[in-house]
C-alpha cells in the first residue's frame, strides 16, 4: 500500500500548492471579494468554443492516423507535440505570420482579389487555442483508438461491419470514454489563457479572468479580488471535471493479446483521410515553419548567456519531468474521483496567484532567490502534472481492470509490478507523459519570476529579457532554441516510449 500513501502525498502537495497558495493570498487580503462578470462570460465562452472545436477537429485526424500507415506518419505524430510546447508569444507570432494582416493567407487573398481576413476577435482567440491544443487532443484520442484490442476489430470485420458499423460499435464507445475528460482538460487550459486571449482578442472586450487577476495583483494590489477571481477559476475547473466524469462512459472493450490488425477501409474514405491529414499537417507546419524561418538565421550567433540559460532550463526540465511522471503515475494508478479532481487543480490555478501565495508562505522562512531552483522545479512539476495524469489515466485504468486480478493473485507488487507489468504495458503513455512534462517545464515562467535570481535566468526568462531590451531578432533566435530544445526533449522521451509499440 506504499503506492496509495505516495498518491496521497502527491495529492496533498498539489492541494497545498494550488488551493493552499490561494488561501495564503486570501488571508493577506484586506478588502472584500468581488467578481467581474463580463470577463467571466468571455472566459467561459472562449474556453468552451476552443475545447469543443479542438476536440471536434481532432477526431477525424486521430482516426486517419489510427487506420493509415504511410511514410512520415511517425514524424507527424511526433510533430503533434510541438505547438502545445511553444511559448505563447512565439506561437502568436507564428500564427500571425500565417493569419495576420501581412500573413501568408492575406497575401493569397489579396492576390485573388478577395477581402482581407481579420484574425483579431473571438475567432482569433479560438483559432490560436485550437492550434495550441488540437494536436494534444489528436494524440490522446489516437491513444484511445489504439487501445481498442485488435481482436474487437477482427470480430467486427468478421461480422461484416463496415466503417459505419465499426464506428457505432467500437469507435463511438471509445470516444465516449475519452472525449469528456479531454474536453474538460482543454476547457480548463483555455480558462486561464491570458496573453493569447488578449493579444488575438483585439482589445478589452476579450478580457479574461486571468487578466483581471493580473490587474488586481499588480496594479491594484487587491489581494482579495485576486483570490476571489482565482477561486472562481477553481470553481469552473471543478465543474468541468465533475461534468466530464459524469458524461464519461467506460468503453469496456476487454483485453486483447497485442495483436495487430489492418483496419484501413478503402474507397472514398482513403481520399478523405488523406485530405484530413494534409490539412492538419498544413495547419500545424506552416506557423511552426514561420517560427523556424524567423529564428534560424540568428541561431548561430546567440550570446553566450543564452546557452547557459538553455543548460539551466534543460536541467530543470529533466528534474521536473522525473518528478511529474512518477507523481502522475502514482495518481493515475489510484482509483477514485478525488484523484481526477485533484490532478486537474493545477490547470485552473492562476500562476500569478500561485507564485504570490508561495511567496507569502516562504518569504518569512527563506530568501526567495535561495530557493529559486527547487521552487521552479516543483512549480513546473505541479503545473505539468495534469497533462501527464490525463495521458496516463485511461491506460492505467485499463491496466488495472485487465490485469489487476491476475497480478494480485500472483503476488506481483511493488517494484516487481512496476517492472514487469506497469512499465511494459504503459511504456508509450509514460514516454509521452515524460516528454510533455519535460517540454512544459522548459517553457513555463509564469510563477518563477517572483523567485528568479536575475543574473542566472532560465531560457524563457532570457527570451523575455531580450524582448524587453529591443532585441527582437535575438529573442526570435532564443525562442527557436527554446522550441528546439523543448521539442528535442519531448521527441526523445516520446520516441523512447513508443519504440516497439503501435503508436
Amino acid at each position: 500500500m506504499a503506492g496509495r500513501a505516495f498518491a496521497l502525498t502527491v495529492g496533498a502537495a498539489i492541494v497545498a500548492l494550488t488551493l493552499g497558495t490561494l488561501a495564503l493570498v486570501g488571508l493577506r487580503a484586506e478588502g472584500g471579494w468581488s467578481t467581474d462578470y463580463s470577463a467571466l462570460r468571455f472566459t467561459v465562452v472562449q474556453a468552451a468554443l476552443s475545447a469543443l472545436i479542438s476536440v471536434g477537429a481532432a477526431i477525424p485526424v486521430a482516426r486517419a492516423l489510427a487506420r493509415r500507415r504511410f511514410r512520415g506518419r511517425g514524424a507527424l505524430v511526433a510533430l503533434l507535440g510541438a505547438p502545445f510546447l511553444l511559448p505563447v508569444i512565439v506561437a502568436v507570432l507564428g500564427l500571425l505570420a500565417v493569419f495576420g494582416r501581412s500573413g501568408v493567407l492575406n497575401q493569397l487573398t489579396g492576390l485573388a482579389g478577395l477581402p482581407r481576413i481579420d484574425i483579431y476577435g473571438l475567432h482569433g482567440v479560438v483559432l490560436a487555442h485550437v492550434f495550441l491544443n488540437m494536436p494534444l487532443a489528436v494524440r490522446l484520442i489516437l491513444q484511445g483508438w489504439l487501445a481498442i484490442p485488435a481482436e474487437r476489430f477482427r470480430l467486427a470485420q468478421s461480422l461484416g461491419l463496415g466503417p459505419r458499423g465499426i464506428f457505432r460499435h467500437l469507435e463511438r464507445p471509445m470516444l465516449q470514454e475519452v472525449l469528456p475528460g479531454l474536453t474538460a482538460l482543454i476547457f480548463v487550459i483555455c480558462l486561464t489563457s491570458f496573453a493569447v486571449a488578449l493579444t488575438l482578442g483585439g482589445g478589452p472586450a476579450a478580457t479574461t479572468v486571468e487578466l483581471a487577476i493580473y490587474q488586481a495583483l499588480r496594479f491594484q494590489f487587491d489581494l482579495g479580488r485576486a483570490a476571489s477571481l482565482s477561486a472562481l477559476q477553481f470553481g469552473l475547473c471543478a465543474m468541468a471535471v465533475l461534468l466530464a466524469l459524469r458524461l464519461s462512459a467506460p468503453g469496456g472493450f476487454g483485453r486483447g493479446l497485442d495483436r495487430v490488425v489492418d483496419i484501413a477501409p478503402a474507397g472514398w474514405r482513403r481520399g478523405s483521410d488523406t485530405l484530413v491529414l494534409v490539412l492538419a499537417a498544413l495547419f500545424l507546419i506552416v506557423p511552426l515553419g514561420a517560427v523556424a524561418l524567423r529564428g534560424a538565421p540568428i541561431l548561430v550567433d546567440l550570446p553566450a548567456g543564452v546557452w547557459w540559460a538553455a543548460a539551466r532550463s534543460v536541467l530543470v526540465a529533466c528534474g521536473s519531468s522525473v518528478l511529474v511522471t512518477g507523481a502522475a503515475l502514482a495518481l493515475a494508478l489510484t482509483p477514485g474521483r478525488w484523484v481526477d479532481l485533484v490532478a486537474m487543480l493545477p490547470l485552473a490555478a492562476s500562476s500569478l496567484v500561485m507564485g504570490t501565495g508561495l511567496f507569502i508562505g516562504l518569504y518569512p522562512l527563506v530568501a526567495p532567490e535561495a530557493v529559486a531552483l527547487p521552487v521552479t522545479l516543483m512549480v513546473n512539476a505541479v503545473l505539468a502534472l495534469p497533462f501527464a495524469f490525463r495521458i496516463l489515466r485511461p491506460a492505467a485504468t485499463t491496466l488495472t481492470s485487465d490485469y489487476g486480478v491476475l497480478a494480485q493473485s500472483l503476488g506481483l507488487r511493488g517494484v516487481a509490478r512496476l517492472r514487469w507489468l506497469t512499465w511494459p504495458r504503459l511504456r508509450a503513455p509514460l514516454g509521452f507523459a515524460a516528454g510533455v512534462s519535460a517540454a512544459l517545464s522548459m517553457g513555463d515562467l509564469g510563477v518563477i519570476a517572483l523567485f528568479a535570481a536575475p543574473d542566472r535566468p532560465t531560457l524563457p526568462l532570457m527570451v523575455q529579457q531580450l524582448l524587453g531590451a529591443y532585441r527582437m531578432d535575438q529573442a526570435a533566435g532564443a525562442a527557436l532554441l527554446l522550441v528546439l530544445l523543448s521539442f528535442g526533449l519531448f521527441a526523445l522521451l516520446d520516441w523512447g516510449g513508443r519504440r516497439g509499440s503501435a503508436l
Binding site: L211, Y214, F221, W308, L450, F451, A453, P454, A469, A475
Partner: protein, 320 residues
C-alpha cells in the same frame, strides 16, 4: 566543476563585507540593461557588494515590496514610474533620500522621497515612409493599425490612457471611440506590442520617442521614427527610492547619488534607451531625435485619483 555548478544553480554568490540589495525590474538587470555596468561601477567605489533582485516588471516590483512589507531586505528600489508613485508613497515603505542633485527634466521635480534617474516621452513609433499623423485625431482619421498595451497590465499602456486624459480631459472617451478602429490589438506588455510592430503585423506601436535611437545606434537601422503630436507628449519618469527599513541607509543614499553621476547616467541612456535625468552628453543618435514642443504630465496624486475611472472609460470605449 564547482564553478559550473554554481553557475547552473540559481543560488546567489556569497556576500561581501557590506551588502546593498537593489530591487528593480527584470530588463534593467539583463545582460543588455544598465544593471551589470552599474554594479561594476558602484562596487569599484563603495567597497561593498551590490545585489540585484528583479521580480518582474515595474508593477511587479512594487507588488513584491508590498508583499514583503517591513521585513523587506531590499535597501533601494529602482524603476518605479510616476504612475505608480502615489501608491508607492501610500505604502509608507520608502524614506526620503539625501541626494539633492540638479535634475534635467522637462518638469519641475521636488519630491523628497522619489528620485528620477531617467525619463522619456511616450510616442507612437512607426516606419519611415508611412504617412505620419500629427495628433491622435489625425491618427484616428488614418488607416494606420497600431498595437497598444493594456493599461491593466502594463505601465506604457497606463501611460497612454493618462496621455489622452491629460490632452483631452472629458473628451477622452470620444477620442478612444474614434481610435477604436485603428487599434490592431491590445497586448499584455510592451514587448508583445513592439514585437507585432517589428514583425510587420502592426503599422505602429506605442513606445517612446527614444525608441528609434536604439534601432539607429545598435542596429544601424534608421528606418524607425516617432510621430510628434501637436497636443503634446505624456512624460514617463523612472524613479529610484530608499526603503525605510534599509539597514544600510548611508550606502543606499550613496547608491542613489551614484545613479545620477555622469558615468551612471551615460550607462543608463545607452542601455535603457531613455533620456538621462542629469545633464550628460547625449549618446549619438539621441541628438537627432525630434523633441515634442509640449510635455503633458499628471501629478502622481492626480493619477491615483482618476486612474480607475480613466481605465474604465478606455475599456468601455474599446469594448464596443
Amino acid at each position: 566543476m564547482r564553478h559550473i555548478l554554481a553557475f547552473l544553480c540559481l543560488i546567489p554568490a556569497a556576500a561581501g563585507a557590506q551588502d546593498l540589495t537593489v530591487m528593480t525590474y527584470d530588463s534593467f538587470v539583463s545582460e543588455w540593461g544598465p544593471g551589470p555596468q552599474l554594479k561594476q561601477g558602484f562596487e569599484e567605489e563603495c567597497d561593498c557588494t551590490l545585489r540585484f533582485v528583479a521580480p518582474g516588471d515595474a508593477a511587479a516590483v512594487l507588488s513584491r515590496l508590498r508583499l514583503e512589507g517591513t521585513r523587506s531586505t531590499a535597501d533601494v528600489v529602482v524603476g518605479l514610474d510616476t504612475n505608480l508613485m502615489a501608491e508607492a508613497e501610500q505604502s509608507g515603505l520608502f524614506a526620503p533620500h539625501a541626494a539633492t542633485p540638479a535634475l534635467d527634466l522637462p518638469i519641475e521635480w521636488t519630491d523628497p522621497t522619489f528620485l528620477p534617474f531617467d525619463w522619456g516621452w511616450f510616442a507612437i513609433v512607426m516606419n519611415k515612409g508611412t504617412p505620419v499623423p500629427h495628433s491622435f485625431e489625425e491618427l484616428a482619421a488614418s488607416d494606420l493599425k497600431i498595437a497598444i498595451q493594456d493599461p491593466r497590465s502594463s505601465t506604457p499602456g497606463l501611460g497612454l490612457v493618462m496621455w489622452i486624459k491629460a490632452a483631452y480631459g472629458d473628451r477622452a472617451p470620444r477620442i478612444w471611440a474614434d481610435l477604436a478602429d485603428n487599434i490592431l490589438t491590445v497586448t499584455p506588455g510592451w514587448s508583445e506590442a513592439y514585437g507585432l510592430f517589428t514583425e510587420g503585423e502592426a503599422d505602429a506601436v506605442l513606445s517612446y520617442t527614444t525608441s528609434p535611437a536604439y534601432h539607429a545606434i545598435a542596429e544601424n537601422d534608421p528606418s524607425k521614427v516617432a510621430a510628434i503630436f501637436n497636443e503634446g507628449h505624456y512624460l514617463q519618469v523612472e524613479l529610484a527610492a530608499k526603503l525605510a527599513t534599509s539597514k544600510n541607509s548611508d550606502l543606499a543614499d550613496r547608491f542613489l547619488a551614484y545613479l545620477l553621476t555622469p558615468a551612471a547616467q551615460t550607462v543608463i541612456a545607452n542601455t535603457n534607451w531613455m533620456y538621462p535625468a542629469h545633464e550628460v552628453p547625449l549618446p549619438d543618435g539621441f541628438g537627432d531625435l525630434p523633441r515634442p514642443e509640449k510635455t503633458l504630465f499628471l501629478a502622481p496624486s492626480e493619477v491615483a485619483d482618476i486612474r480607475d475611472a480613466a481605465v474604465r472609460e478606455w475599456q468601455a470605449a474599446l469594448s464596443r
